[in-house]
Symmetry: C2
Subunit: 451 residues, 2 copies
């Protein structure tokens, strides 16, 4: 960072200082025959050179502009940053529309960029929602609640408990036809899995929704995801936990993925979320909602929700790699952990150097279960000796369950079963569509590959 | 497992015992109006029921057959299992063909299933190769060597060193126009990355090749991958480390992926290997080889190979998740580790509970570098406060490098640089095509998204 905290140094800092321009000011730059206008942003990248400054343009994008001695920088007088209207309009209830609980937890979808600092603030009120996405009123009567305001990388198991309890309370009061949860995308898949297990026998649908671009950017996916999710949970007869996000990089349509089967598979693209080892449940295009896979449960207001919101945090996820030391497994055993999800290689293998530590872990009462770092496909530990030996030790194969869901499921099972043995057995029993148990050896079918 | 070690119990074991049928015997089964013939396989799946037996059919597939009291089982007199010919033919050198070193390390591609035990044995000699894939002779004069015979989940950094040294020796002797390495698929991506760094300034190409089905199965991809790789390294003018595998689930064509950019992305499919954040280098279809991306190096027999085969094993890969405890990071610091690759969420974030431990790790001299568990896309730690804070601590962003390559690269750097600081800097410097460094802020382009 530069001496003034702006991140600028050298020529750029000199020029800015001489003109009394600070981060957050609106500036005009004339360089090499071209003009740029926007808000001066701070610079924090490691190894930032002293020749570029960064503007947030009016179209919402940041851009870097190379500065030399000939560049002309001028400070604009007025800020033209659009501010959201915060009128005091109270939405009138429409008796013909469903009632949807929209809960915000933080994350990009519930954030606005503070142009003065460049920071993203995760704060959204009911009023903010109406202001930013007024078309929500066309789909439902909205009951908006702020559950928490954090970036999703910081969400912990206790937050899953809190979210599950709020939803359960609202559903049990009987006024809610569906739930939309605005959530950061970083750990949205984990939370979706957590709610899939914590809220059993759902009478109404729950859609978790996020955005890959903050709501105040013209390229934001927030509005479409939010209206699509609201439309889905208000109208369709499904009663599952889902994730609703863009299916394409453009705004053409959305997918609703099963909460126990979805993963963020790209750092930045709008279609980052994908169903893994399964198909999406719904395709949502404007007002058309197409059912792609059969839901596990259909909407039924009379069904009684079962709430089991507790999670055991002493469960580790260990991705294996060449050279991994068995002592890492010992660490978890020695520190009171109750379970380990392995992310092994291929069909569910680990280096043989881990074997004795894994045996010790199982013998000490930990549930040790196997997923694959391949992401796609099913573990099958019967094919090679190394897999068979792990089965013999007592490592539980997680079949086609993704690692993140396996972690959450084991955290949930260990908090909600009487014995670890029971938890181990339930790990390979489907509870929320997270596993497809293929009969061990399917009936003869020449076209079916066995693994 | 059943009382006799075959894995069978109950009715099935009774029937088999009364007929004196053992695992490995050829049997005929008449059940429910249908006939099945094949070799009786052992059964080892956890919780196997007592009603099915498993046959390896003549087409190579295993199948489960439900047995009841009415099922007729008969033992066949002769085994019709095809055995490979092991003639003593010595291949004549063809002066018009290139010379290719084919090295086996083990894995499915260098394995045969032992029908008596069902185990896969990773052992392949030069003679085995000619026997199983005689068409290799049409592409090259083969110099075959067995480097080791292990399943790739057990390969360690010392094996990478051994493989690199053998290849270097052969290349330096000047008789080798290209190298093919038969390798298990589980850690093939890791080894490909390791050789990409260990063997610099390559004069000739290296292709690592595996198979997802063992060579004696009719559905095996071994033969096509092996001939495709041999053809590629003998004929094309590239000089890089690559992985050559099926591009499709059928046998239509292969891809050659850059060794530092490839990942096993499916547990069982033949097209499991994919280039991540980059395009494949070549498309190989029968005798047509199409260059898809520009190689970093072209073949040049006069170029002098630089060999740096050492790796530091005290580097950890840590995938983060909700609830992860900072003490896990402390463990590595306290146990003499020299580096940690984080597989964070989204654009490169970790739970804030890890921050103080990460700061301690960096302050203790460990290189801590960030990749994303999203697999696809680039980390960008400038967008959110949580990323910026990690940069300020000194966490190195790995840009668009995949986690497995980042791990191998840091293992290699820490064994081949004088200081950890130097290793940290080189982590974000491209050395083997593993990173594309996008200029920090690209020149103005309305179509380019900044993250």
């Amino acid at each position: 960072m530069g001496p003034d905290g702006s991140g600028y140094s050298g020529l750029v800092l000199e020029k800015l200082s001489s003109l009394d321009i600070k981060v957050g000011d609106r500036v005009k730059i004339h360089h090499d025959g071209r003009d740029f206008q926007g808000i001066l942003m701070p610079r924090s990248q490691v190894g930032a050179d002293p020749y570029h400054l960064v503007l947030k343009l009016d179209n919402g994008y940041n851009t870097g502009i190379k500065i030399d001695a000939a560049t002309i920088i001028t400070k604009s007088k007025s800020s033209r940053v659009k501010k959201p209207k915060t009128t005091e309009t109270v939405q009138k209830l429409n008796p013909l529309l469903p009632t949807v609980l929209v809960m915000s937890t933080g994350g990009t979808i519930a954030s606005r960029v503070d142009y003065r600092t460049g920071a993203v603030n995760p704060a959204l009120t009911a009023q903010d929602l109406y202001d930013s996405v007024p078309e929500l009123q066309d789909y439902a009567n909205i009951n908006a609640q702020v559950a928490m305001s954090i970036l999703s990388e910081n969400i912990r198991t206790s937050d899953w408990t809190k979210i599950a309890k709020i939803i359960a309370k609202e559903i049990k009061e009987g006024e809610t036809d569906g739930v939309v949860i605005a959530h950061g995308t970083d750990t949205m898949g984990y939370t979706a899995a957590a709610l899939s297990f914590a809220l059993q026998n759902l009478p109404v649908p729950i859609a978790i929704v996020g955005s890959q671009r903050s709501s105040d950017r013209p390229s934001s996916d927030a509005s479409l995801n939010l209206t699509g999710a609201t439309n889905l949970v208000g109208r369709t007869d499904v009663a599952e936990v889902m994730v609703v996000m863009h299916a394409q990089t453009d705004d053409s349509y959305l997918y609703a993925h099963r909460g126990s089967r979805v993963r963020k598979l790209h750092t930045s693209r709008r279609d980052a979320f994908q169903s893994v080892n399964s198909y999406p449940l719904f395709r949502i295009e404007e007002n058309e909602i197409e059912e792609l896979s059969t839901p596990l449960l259909r909407r039924d207001p009379k069904r009684v929700l079962t709430v089991k919101p507790q999670f055991e945090e002493l469960v580790a996820l260990v991705k294996t790699y060449p050279g991994i030391d068995g002592k890492i497994v010992d660490y978890f055993v020695d520190n009171g952990y109750r379970g380990i999800i392995l992310e092994g290689t291929g069909l569910g293998h680990v280096p043989d150097t881990l074997q004795s530590s894994l045996k010790k872990a199982v013998d000490s009462g930990l549930v040790v279960a196997m997923t694959s770092q391949c992401i796609h496909g099913r573990v099958n530990m019967d094919v090679y000796r190394s897999g068979v030996e792990l089965l013999e030790i007592g490592v539980v194969p997680c079949q086609d369950m993704i690692a993140e869901t396996a972690l959450v499921k084991l955290m949930w099972l260990l908090a909600n079963t009487k014995t670890s043995e029971q938890a181990g057995t339930l790990m390979y029993t489907p509870l929320a569509g997270e596993i497809e148990v293929r009969s061990e050896y399917p009936q003869y079918d020449a076209d079916v590959e066995m693994y």
